[in-house]
């Protein structure tokens, strides 16, 4: 692979550099794979992107360094920020006043996932310094995978909406605690204030950037039409600026975007009109994110013990999410069946988990590789399997507007429920 790259580098000298060509071609192949998989097998496009990224990673593709840094880290953070900005805009804070059980549901499933994964991994012999961060990685569901699956299937409904909201909230907790935990990894004495202060710093900086972002957008929306292309571009560029600033100041860029969207929704309850305009730009960024995640994750070292731990983590995480969502379901307005489907739709792990894992690796050269050894395969597996499970859950909930392809002519022409 490297020889081929070297030969290619000598032969081709493009203006934007060879990595640009490599990434462009890789994304083109991923787009084709995603399309074909969905068209002929009915699997979500994300699966195609991930498979192409995985193959590239296994083949030694050198365009994605690990731990994440430089432009690849920025692109991942930007992609996440855009996804979380859109997802955050679906969370009106007043909903929790009318239905506090949704918040209880969210906290229950996140807390249960964290502790269940932590205790299981500790029981299987992992050190606390490794099990703890891995539990935080496992806590995060993936709004990016879920929203792509939802977009692919043009899904809408109670299960879809709640799964997006709970995934987004779990991301909020994971980003805050994960970033703070990464800060703590190199400290020898840990008092209460040592534990709390990094959380406060991450949250504080993210909130300040989020407030600035929300204020800027709120001001712009006073005189700009929300459906205008220029508004979408302004939004995208402001999110990009906030991403760079938040990361630089010690906050979490995706967290800042998420909180910014929630603040904007709170102070500007007008409809969220720009996701349709953002369309292709957002789709390209998220696709890049999936390929990047799988390329990096595929570079993990496998062994029998690692495989066992990875499977244990995945299984316990799945059960914990189901039990957690079910525990908080009482009085939350959803049926038991819907709760099960919501929990299933929350199984994907992807870019947020990778970002948090990367932070741990950067923060601690000793434990970081041990964390990555288990986190990366888990992320890779759950980017693919999670996308499939989420798709099935949405079909079983009857919330997809598209038939599962390929189908018979009659089913395609007639009613198109998945169940």
């Amino acid at each position: 692979m490297n020889e081929l790259m070297n030969f290619w580098a000598q032969w081709l000298r493009p203006s934007a550099g060879l990595p640009t060509v490599q990434w462009s071609l890789l994304l083109a192949v991923a787009a084709i794979a995603g399309h074909l998989l969905q068209r002929h097998v009915g699997l979500p496009k994300v699966v195609g992107y991930t498979l192409v990224g995985t193959l590239a990673g296994l083949a030694g593709f050198s365009g994605a360094p690990w731990p994440l840094q430089g432009i690849s880290l920025f692109l991942l953070e930007l992609g996440l920020a855009v996804v979380l900005f859109e997802a955050g805009g679906r969370i009106p804070l007043r909903w929790f006043r009318h239905n506090p059980m949704v918040l209880v549901q969210s906290i229950a499933e996140s807390a249960l996932t964290y502790f269940a994964v932590y205790w299981t991994l500790a029981w299987l012999g992992l050190e606390r310094q490794v099990a703890g961060p891995l539990a935080l990685v496992a806590l995060a569901a993936s709004p990016s995978v879920l929203t792509r699956v939802v977009a692919d299937n043009r899904a809408a409904g109670p299960v879809t909406e709640r799964a997006i909201v709970l995934s987004t909230l779990s991301t909020l907790y994971a980003l805050t605690l994960g970033s703070a935990r990464a800060e703590l990894m190199n400290r020898s004495s840990i008092t209460f204030s040592d534990t709390v202060s990094p959380v406060m710093v991450v949250l504080g900086v993210s909130i300040v950037v989020a407030a600035a972002l929300a204020l800027a957008l709120r001001t712009a929306l006073r005189f700009m039409a929300p459906t205008s292309e220029n508004t979408s571009i302004m939004l995208l560029t402001l999110v990009a600026a906030a991403t760079a600033v938040a990361a630089h100041m010690g906050g979490s860029a995706p967290l800042a975007a998420l909180l910014g969207a929630m603040l904007l929704k709170q102070f500007n309850p007008r409809p969220w009109a720009w996701p349709r305009q953002l369309g292709n730009a957002s789709a390209l960024l998220t696709m890049l994110m999936f390929v990047l995640v799988s390329t990096v994750a595929a570079q993990a070292d496998w062994s029998g013990r690692v495989a066992g731990l990875v499977l244990a983590l995945i299984a316990v995480r799945l059960v914990a999410k189901v039990v957690g969502v079910a525990l908080g379901n009482v009085g939350s307005g959803a049926s038991w069946r819907q709760a099960l489907l919501v929990a299933s739709a929350m199984t994907p792990m992807s870019s947020i988990a990778l970002l948090i894992a990367s932070q741990f690796v950067v923060a601690s050269p000793q434990t970081g590789p041990l964390i990555a050894q288990i986190a990366l395969p888990a992320i890779l597996l759950m980017e693919v399997a999670g996308a499939v499970i989420a798709t099935l859950a949405i079909y079983r909930a009857g919330e997809s507007s598209k038939p599962w392809a390929p189908l018979t002519t009659r089913e395609s022409a007639g009613e198109n429920h998945g169940s």
Binding site: A225, P269, G333, G398, E399, E415
Partner: protein, 373 residues
């Protein structure tokens, strides 16, 4: 199956049904939450009922038997408050209006119920395009023959009902130039339009038997007429109203129907005849297209006049009967709206001119339904 017996009901009692939209709170498109809303609404003891409708972003609420429009308003207020509470819990909103301004019909899903599936199989895409929202008003009739007489008398006032309730100027993001575009969707159904001219129940039974013999219809439910007899309730059901944006207007419209009915029963003001229907479709079109600015052709004299003037004249004419049934306030509301040339369709257009975003107009319509202008 033969025609049901026309049951007894107390004359001039009212029953109101409202088909309502369920929308999400981020882009205000229709949201398939009917099943969840029905499940949550079951926990609220309410008058009337809440049932699913053709597609899963719709529900229908109905009052019990009411004696006045103020009783209708009282019951609708209870139902509305419960709806809003359940919607808040689900993070959705409930909205009136005859159409959702920008929903795409092909994205709709048929509610999972045998009758709706059967209709979907028969009517194909029309069933999804039937994601439109109307108000139905039932009025109690003394007996079957009186019901038919009332039905055909009421037909003269169909344009009035349409113009006063029109709230569907937008379809799939476009201004249709109609005040009530909803009724154009109803017209696509083969058994829509006017009821046949039968003034006795015996004649109507003969007509019904002929129709069932052809195999085209099996029950009264298969007729999508503007007004149809409802033998099991002992009422006639007026179906041309768009769902208004507020329950106050919905109740006021029922008061108008009741006052007209009282006038018919007390004064027997005119005898309906087949020739009334010569101008029926034209008047109906005018009201759908121009709302309060429509021209009304008097079926009896053939004279032309602005519909809004005829509405005001009619309201003045029935004021005494309205007072006797506690509908003075209701008619006052409608009269002042007619005088100002105002209806919900105009409100939609004014808001859209201001906002340039139908989703925002829908959000504001949801606020109006909650009782917050």
């Amino acid at each position: 199956m033969g025609l049901e017996t026309f049951n007894h009901s107390e004359p001039l009692t009212l029953g109101v049904e409202l088909e309502l939209q369920l929308v999400n709170t981020h882009d205000y498109d229709l949201a398939p939450y009917a099943e969840d809303m029905l499940r949550l609404m079951e926990k609220h003891p309410l008058p009337g009922s809440v049932v699913p409708e053709m597609t899963s972003g719709m529900i229908e609420v109905s009052t019990g038997i009411c004696h006045s429009s103020s009783e209708v308003l009282g019951q609708l207020t209870q139902i509305r408050d419960a709806l809003v509470k359940c919607a808040d819990k689900l993070n959705i909103a409930v909205v009136g209006g005859g159409t959702h301004p920008f929903q795409q019909w092909h994205e709709r899903r048929i509610y999972d119920k045998p009758r709706f599936r059967e209709l979907s199989d028969l009517y194909g895409y029309l069933s999804k395009q039937f994601t439109i929202f109307g108000q139905h008003v039932h009025i109690g009739c003394p007996d079957a023959d009186s019901a038919l007489l009332m039905l055909h008398r009421m037909s003269r006032f169909i344009p009035h009902f349409i113009a006063l309730s029109a709230s569907s100027p937008y379809i799939q993001g476009q201004d249709t130039a109609f005040d009530s575009a909803r009724l154009n969707s109803v017209f696509a159904f083969p058994l829509s339009g006017r009821a046949p001219m039968a003034l006795t129940w015996r004649d109507f039974e003969v007509y019904f038997d002929k129709m069932t013999h052809t195999g085209v219809v099996r029950s009264m439910k298969d007729f999508y007429w503007d007004i149809r007899p409802k033998p099991e309730f002992g009422t006639i059901e007026i179906r041309v109203f768009d769902t208004p944006l507020t329950i106050e207007r919905a109740a006021a419209l029922s008061g108008f129907v009741q006052s007209l009915g009282a006038w018919f029963l007390a004064d027997q003001p005119f005898m309906p005849q087949e020739d009334d229907y010569l101008v029926y479709t034209y008047n109906r079109f005018q009201a759908c297209r121009f709302g309060m600015d429509a021209v009304y052709v008097d079926p009896a004299t053939g004279g032309h006049m602005p519909l809004r003037e005829h509405i005001m004249r009619t309201i003045d004419q029935i004021a005494g009967h309205a007072a006797a049934h506690g509908a003075t306030g209701a008619l006052h509301l409608l009269r002042s709206e007619a005088a100002a040339g105002q209806n919900d369709a105009r409100w939609f257009r004014e808001r859209q001119r201001e906002e340039q975003l139908l989703a925002e107009v829908t959000r504001q319509a949801a606020q109006r339904f909650r009782g917050r202008d």
